[in-house]
Amino acid sequence: MRGRSTWIVLAALFAAGMFSLGLGASFWRTQREEIARLPAQYEAQMERLAHRYAKGDEAGYWAYYTASPTWQQPHPLAALAWGVRDVAPLVTWVRLLGLEPQLYDAPLGNPRLQALGGFDLAFVLGILAPCALLLLSHDALSRDASRGTLPLLAAQAGGLAPVLAARIAAALLLVLTTCALLWLASLVWSGLEIRPALDSATWLSSAALHLLFWAALAAAIASATRTPAASLATALGCWVFIVVLLPALVNLALSASFPVPEGLELTVRQRQAMHETWDQPRQPNFARFLSERPEWPHAKEVPEQFTWTWYYAMHELADRSVSELAKSYAQRLRERRVWTERLSWLCPPMLLQLRLCAIARTDLESHLIHLERVRAHHHQLKLHFFPLIAADKTLLPADAARFPRFSDSAPPSLPPPASTPLILLSIAALLIVRPSRLLAA
């Protein structure tokens, strides 16, 4: 492909990229604003409580109605690779009650849009850019083969390999330049925020490495087909198979073979445990509670009527009764992730997507880490409130300032999946490049 159509392809790719950047910027802004508004929302809540309990009230009441926000600061690259962000929330509000039922709420979203998928730069670089590259380079040799000028070309250049290499490299360079321009545009857009410079470099180089694989594949296709029609059909066939069908099949196979029944089990069991405890004799259960809470010995006995100590102990016992399930829920999800990674070795776009989202901290793993931090914060709430509740303290609005707050958390650092498979697949594709075959016939 030459001349005008080359520029059309590149312009389309660039336009798609700019569009994704626009969406990404608005997506990122929304997330930042959501987090920025949290303190105000928390203060508004505390003001309502201060108004309601102006003369002070039991610590148990304060704890019951105080929800405190936990969040994960989005990584700047999250604007470019949205990952699971639309279905896994950045923000979780927790109260002192049982933790498990508070962890798994879906964010408010339109399922129809979520099902359609995101249009982020990762999509443009991982899905559309390879298509552009193939469109530009599939006929590197077949355009001459179909005109009969191939032997001439080979004679002039001293073999077909240099011609093929030069043409593929030119196409790759054009596409890479477009991607680099998009990258620069994204930097300008986000106010030249290149602070996680290493992350940014890894991010962009992953995308470039991925395109290298496609260039190798393009070379293989170009050296195996004789007419532009055939090379185009083969190239786009490969593209559809690798980019659309293979990931779709792998994803279906993964969700079919890794069901996660723990979610339902956990929800149902937690509630039952919580309410069963309420009907049982209190002392033995309370002893069970204290066995892991030696720090509150002054509340050895519980009376038969309602007390906050007992109420929160019950919540904790319910959490404990499903702690194994909660662990195995996360474990299952991690297992699924490991298998996704393994299978993605055979499917470069999947591997790239995993890498880009891991670097941008928008993968499942970073959500699981977020959940662990929520757990830790919930524990802080317990450490603060339990002694007050056990001592039957009355809290005044002024005491609310000492309630534990979640400390601003940086995005977790995660090792992204290795990119070696990309290199190996590129080499494998290059090994089947035999342009001289085209001359043989």
Partner: protein
């Protein structure tokens, strides 16, 4: 007419003589069978799981000991989103909407454990389903098989011969279109075959009977799905032949068609989703809850009998019964207060939720508008609705779950009002026999008539697109003949 059928037969024969077509058919069938089997297996196991927990929860509800009714209202219940028997064909938004909702007094919890929440980032590249094979993939097959329909004849010089032999341009065009339709029939036919086979294979094992839509409706829905699939395929046949008749070379025709496919299946749907959420952003959950909390604050706390917001209410009630103190009332004031509070909180929630839903409606409207550019979106719309896995069905379910929640909570408040004495409110228990009076949650999916009414625009879009292309061809070929 005779030439037309002859051309059509020739075209189909020619297509199937190619090895590539047969290989393609093999691959298509392979993907279809894999999609049907895996999807069925997954949906069946999901449904079995759900059934299991549903029964467990029901049993646990019935076996509750003597409890205070308000405790039972907080014990609450679960609404499991029923899996449509057709979800194995088109899972639609099923993975995004969550599987279970905890229902209790005073609050409307979110749906939990959406499968999409457990997916890795690579999962966002999409999941194979029979509906994907029947829609986008079949469209791709049509483009691949048919891109040469005209242009190949032109390149090989056959076109001139055919025209010289007296085949009219119209007959030639429609003959090609007919031929391509014939040629893809073996592909299209595999879709219902695989679906029925997978259903028979798995339903025999699962022992699940379907109450969501009756079995007649199931068959009818299946037939309508087939019809929609054929209409969508027909549109792609027309587009393919049109592009092929206009293109200069086969490569050009193939490149154009594949770019169109890429736009229709990958770019436009995602772009529409992105645009919709950027143009009409939804409030975040934090914002929603903050608004809800500030609205609720205005109402007062129904747990607190001395809340000033309820004082006038209390005075009115005392006057009505001619009582001096709450203990003298023949009914339990706390139960009445709870009922009042529940009524108000759910009104507030409804109002807030309908604001959110109106934003979602705007988003959906934008997607529907964009669907004029991508027939795949129309196909998805029809197929999700027929399979009962669309957002409308999901919202209907949410509303039914909320209505049911409101019903059982108010029933429990009534039990508290009538059977628990005000003075012994904190110690008295209600006999467990009362729990048997509560009915199970039986959500009803939108009926076929509603589904058809809702998907009318999508049918219209597909049909109109076919008509427009057909008449454009009529005009164009007519002009060429006179020229």
């Amino acid at each position: 007419m005779k030439t037309l059928t002859w051309i059509a037969q020739q075209e189909a024969r020619l297509v199937w003589r190619r090895l590539s077509t047969r290989v393609l058919w093999g691959l298509f069938t392979l993907f279809l069978v894999a999609a049907a089997l895996l999807s069925h297996q997954r949906q069946t196991s999901e449904r079995r799981q759900q059934r299991h927990y549903q029964e467990l929860v029901r049993r646990e509800w019935m076996e509750q000991p003597d409890r205070h009714p308000h405790r039972v209202a907080h014990y609450g219940n679960f609404a499991f989103k029923p899996r449509s028997p057709l979800a194995s064909f088109d899972p639609g938004v099923e993975a995004q909407v969550g599987r279970v909702q905890y229902l209790e007094a005073h609050r409307q919890n979110a749906m939990n454990f959406a499968e999409a929440g457990g997916l890795t980032a690579a999962g966002r590249l999409g999941e194979l389903s029979p509906a994907f094979v029947a829609g986008p993939l079949l469209a791709l097959v049509i483009a691949v098989i048919g891109h040469g329909a005209f242009v190949e004849d032109r390149e090989l010089g056959r076109l001139r011969v055919l025209l010289a032999q007296g085949a009219g341009r119209h007959a030639l065009w429609w003959g090609k279109a007919g031929g391509l339709t014939l040629a893809i029939t073996p592909f299209a036919l595999m879709v219902p075959v695989a679906q029925v086979a997978a259903t028979l294979l798995w339903s025999g094992q699962s022992g699940l009977t379907d109450s969501l839509f009756g079995s007649d409706a199931l068959l009818l829905r299946g037939c309508l799905l087939l019809l929609a699939m054929l209409l969508h395929a027909l549109l792609w046949v027309l587009v393919t032949v049109l592009v092929s008749s206009l293109a200069a070379t086969r490569a050009q025709s193939a490149a154009t068609l594949l770019c169109m496919w890429l736009c229709a299946c990958l770019v436009i749907p995602r772009a529409a989703a992105g645009l919709a959420s950027a143009l009409s952003p939804l409030p975040t959950r934090s914002e929603f809850n903050a608004r809800l909390a500030s609205e609720l604050e205005k109402l007062g706390d129904s747990h607190n009998p001395d809340d000033p917001a309820y004082v006038t209410f209390r005075e009115g009630l005392l006057r009505k019964y001619g009582a001096v103190s709450l203990d003298e009332l023949p009914v339990n004031y706390k139960g009445i207060l709870m009922a009042k509070g529940e009524e108000q909180t759910s009104q507030v929630f409804e109002a807030e939720m309908s604001r959110v839903e109106s934003v979602m409606d705007r988003q959906d409207a934008l997607v529907s508008a964009v669907a004029w550019l991508s027939p795949v979106l129309s196909w998805q719309d029809i197929s999700m609705r027929l399979c009962g896995t669309d957002v409308i069905a999901a919202r209907r379910f949410a509303r039914q779950a909320e209505a049911w929640r409101y019903g059982f909570v108010q029933k429990l408040n009534a039990l508290q009002r009538d059977h628990i004495s005000h003075s012994q409110n904190s110690t008295q228990r209600l006999d467990r026999s009362h729990w048997q009076e509560f009915e199970e949650f039986r959500p009803v999916a939108p009926s076929l008539a509603e589904v058809l009414r809702g998907s009318q625009p999508a049918w219209f879009r597909l049909g109109l697109a076919c008509v427009i292309i057909a008449s454009a061809v009529g005009l164009m070929e007519g002009r060429r003949r006179t020229a």
